[in-house]
């Protein structure tokens, strides 16, 4: 028994020694990033930045909630220089908590449209994620579709699929409907969506696409890149994309709801200049190309083209609601969805 334990200890120590045999990070400028964008979608961009500037980047990935809690707890002692996260709601809360500092730069204002960044410059959107309607090309004609609120129509009874209301993308979408339609109409719409559901809400956007493919339902709401990824694997997928709220009168033509993944420089940052350089890099051509091609998202910088795969969907008019509104109204949106029994 003792021999076994000794053996395990020795083996682990040897392994641990091997684990630390990686070359120590080169001396020189270095940035620390807290990111809720996953490694696969962010590391190639960091690598290019390091190659270009010689500034090394270390990062941890996690969900936005825990990362924000850590930033806040560490306060001015935080080693983090930048927070990268998805969804305007998370960015808005980070700004509200006071962990981000305002920065201004001509490059950023030129590259990023005003609706997609914080007024005070505490965070900037770096990629656009449009959330819109998808439909079965076998059972639905695109002419039958219009806007988000039209999915409340009884003709979709038993034909609608949604992702869970716990996902922040849906919370931001409902927040945008509160802005456009008012709280009462937004709540009415959500209630009608719930009535129209074919099955209980799914855990992911992928499952919504799969359900439409399998014939479980006919229409749904997803972020475009989920569909793009699945189309890249299977171009014959009988699921089409419809740009919501493009035509009609007034708010009906407000445009498709867009959200961002974004970044902000932390208040605690001790390398503000380098961090700003990275932020500008994220809005520049190389990083924007990567956002478009690694994950089929839309670039925020209109000088960069989207990937070939999503160009087939053509251009669309985006809702110009300032994204900070989505953050401010996130709580209201959740309350509406809870009251209407949207799980």
């Amino acid at each position: 028994m003792m021999r076994n334990i000794a053996l395990i200890v020795v083996a682990t120590l040897v392994l641990a020694a091997c684990g630390n045999s990686e070359p120590p990070a080169a001396k020189g400028p270095e940035l620390v990033i807290y990111s809720s964008r996953i490694e696969q979608l962010i590391k190639p961009i960091f690598d290019d930045f390091t190659k270009e500037t010689g500034i090394n980047i270390r990062y941890v990935t996690d969900e936005a909630g825990p990362l924000l809690a850590r930033l806040k707890a560490e306060g001015e002692n935080s080693p983090a220089d930048m927070l990268i996260t998805v969804d305007a709601g998370n960015l808005w809360h980070a700004a509200e908590m006071g962990v981000l500092q305002p920065v201004q730069s001509e490059v950023l204002t030129n590259n990023i449209p005003p609706a997609l960044r914080d007024e005070q410059g505490r965070w900037y959107g770096v990629s656009i994620r449009a959330r819109t309607i998808i439909y079965s090309t076998e059972r639905v004609k695109p002419e039958e579709l219009a806007g988000y609120e039209d999915l409340a129509d009884p003709k979709w009874n038993g034909r609608l699929c949604l992702r869970t209301s716990k996902k922040v993308y849906n919370q931001s979408l409902v927040a945008s409907m509160i802005v456009a339609l008012g709280a009462d109409k937004a709540e009415e719409t959500v209630g009608a969506w719930v009535n129209n559901l074919a099955v209980a809400p799914f855990a992911s956007d992928n499952k919504v696409v799969e359900a439409i493919d399998a014939g479980q339902c006919d229409v749904g709401l997803v972020n475009t890149y989920y569909l793009a990824r699945m189309l890249a694997d299977n171009p014959d997928l009988p699921v089409g994309l419809f740009w919501a709220n493009q035509a009609g009168e007034g708010v009906a033509a407000r445009g498709t709801h867009v959200n961002v993944s974004g970044a902000g420089i932390t208040k605690a940052s001790k390398h503000k200049e380098d961090a700003l350089r990275l932020l500008e890099w994220l809005s520049g051509p190389s990083a924007q190309y990567d956002f478009a091609h690694l994950n089929q998202e839309y670039p925020v910088n209109d000088k960069t083209a989207p990937s070939e795969l999503i160009e087939q969907w053509g251009s669309f008019k985006a809702d110009t609601m300032p994204l900070s509104e989505a953050g401010r109204l996130q709580g209201d949106a959740i309350r509406i969805m809870d009251r209407q029994g949207y799980r």
């Binding site: 996953i38 855990a203 992928n206 009251r339």
Partner: protein, 552 residues
Amino acid sequence: MPVAPSPVTAFSQTPAAPRRSSAALWFLRVIGVAAVLAVMAPILVVVLSWGSSQTEVWQHLIATQLGSLLFNTLLLLVGVGLLVSILGIGLAWFTVMCEFPGRAWFEWLLMLPMAVPAYVMAFVILGVFDFGGPLQSFLRLQFGQQYGSMDVRNAATVIVVFALVLYPYVYMLARSAFLSQSSDTTEAARVLGCNPWQAFYRVALPMARPAIVAGVSLAMMETLADFGTVAVFNYDTFTTAIYKAWFGFFNIQAAAQLASILLLFVALTLFAERRSRGGRRFVQGSRLQHRYRFPVTPVKAWAMTAACSSVLAVAFVLPVLQLMLWAIDEGAVQLNTRFFELVQHTVILAGLAALITVFLALVLAFNRRQVKRGGFFNMAQLGYALPGSVLAVGIMLSFTFIDNQVFIPLQRVLGMSPVPILVGSIATLLAAYWIRFLAVATGPLESSLERIRPSLPEAARTLGANGGELVRRIYLPMLRPGLLTAMVLVFVDVMKEMPATLLLRPYGWDTLAVRIYEMTAEGQWQLAALPALALVAAGLIPVIISIRRSSH
């Protein structure tokens, strides 16, 4: 013929282990107390949340969801509790007490599902059995639309998923309890006129109770604190409310308040269980060698083979096959040096954490036996009762506090540029692991420890053995099965752990679980197949080692 409930069980009050105030004992006492305090720190953070009132979130939750969340949670708990008991105890009894074709193989094969993380089992089951999955698609193609249009995302499926990966806790503990019961017991019961069922129900089962309760309560605590698995099914439980308060309303106070209710519930349950067991101890007769097995008819024997194979097929073969299919489809690109780094990190962290956790659990167990009111040391188990991410944040907050109050000022005094040194260090991550998993190690250790008759160490003392010899020649050999089980359980649990690893790991120390999180966060479950498969494979190693050791 009436038989007393547990005739061969010797009841005695908690023995007064020889009290000696040697330096070693005090040293152990200090470690034990320190461990309990370390566990209490994050819990205190959670409980202190009651300092501010969060009526708005509470009112909203009560008005909308709380009722159904509580019902869902209770349903899940009862379902999982029952199913893991039936599977765990039943299979353990078959393999220990009966002879049937393949028994020697099933003995250890049935432990394997433990290596499958619950969230992996969840997405495999959903992938295979859901409306759009291969099974139902096939049914629709063959027999028309009305067949195979079932939504499997319901309470029953969630219960089955949990039970399939959690029953090994009960199986392992019950099995070692049955094994260590002297054959005299069951033989005596049979001689006194019990049929096999009565021998099981009235003799073996009550004697194995501490072990079984330990196993079932581990399974139920894991279920109660789970978020990832239920999220795959969009099945809302009490943890859903915690996450909603935190991630939705960004109200960490309300989230902590909700979590502390969970904690209270678990603490009361543990307390009640201990009270109901009272001061009784279950001690064995002496003769362990001869193994008595009940004779069974060939039909029954084959039925047992069938039962064991079907559990194994659904709980292990199916997920592994499905993961392999997905991995072959998608995984090859991931197989680079980075991937082997992930495996390496996973094994190192799990190995170190298992050693530390089991050592501390052992120290706590000894302390509990030494001290008259040992209940204090039971509090070290509460880390397991909080949802992983709440505990992770609690630990992060406590360690950040120490960083900010002690190390940063110290660095300033020394003229260094201040950086947090605790958060994001291996030591802190390991601390998070043992704080969370002490309860897991305690179950098997306790039930091993309880089977050591007080007369044994007493006799050794009389014969002149000192403390060190006592440990080396009596306790360690007799605790061996319990120690091994505890290490395997902790090792596997640490490998599967996500929230603390994510939040507290040093830069670059990604593990397989981190990779699985990143893939599933994007809904790409197929891409998570390869890391999941590697996780299962790595989990098998300690399971198999412990089986080989314990069979000697």
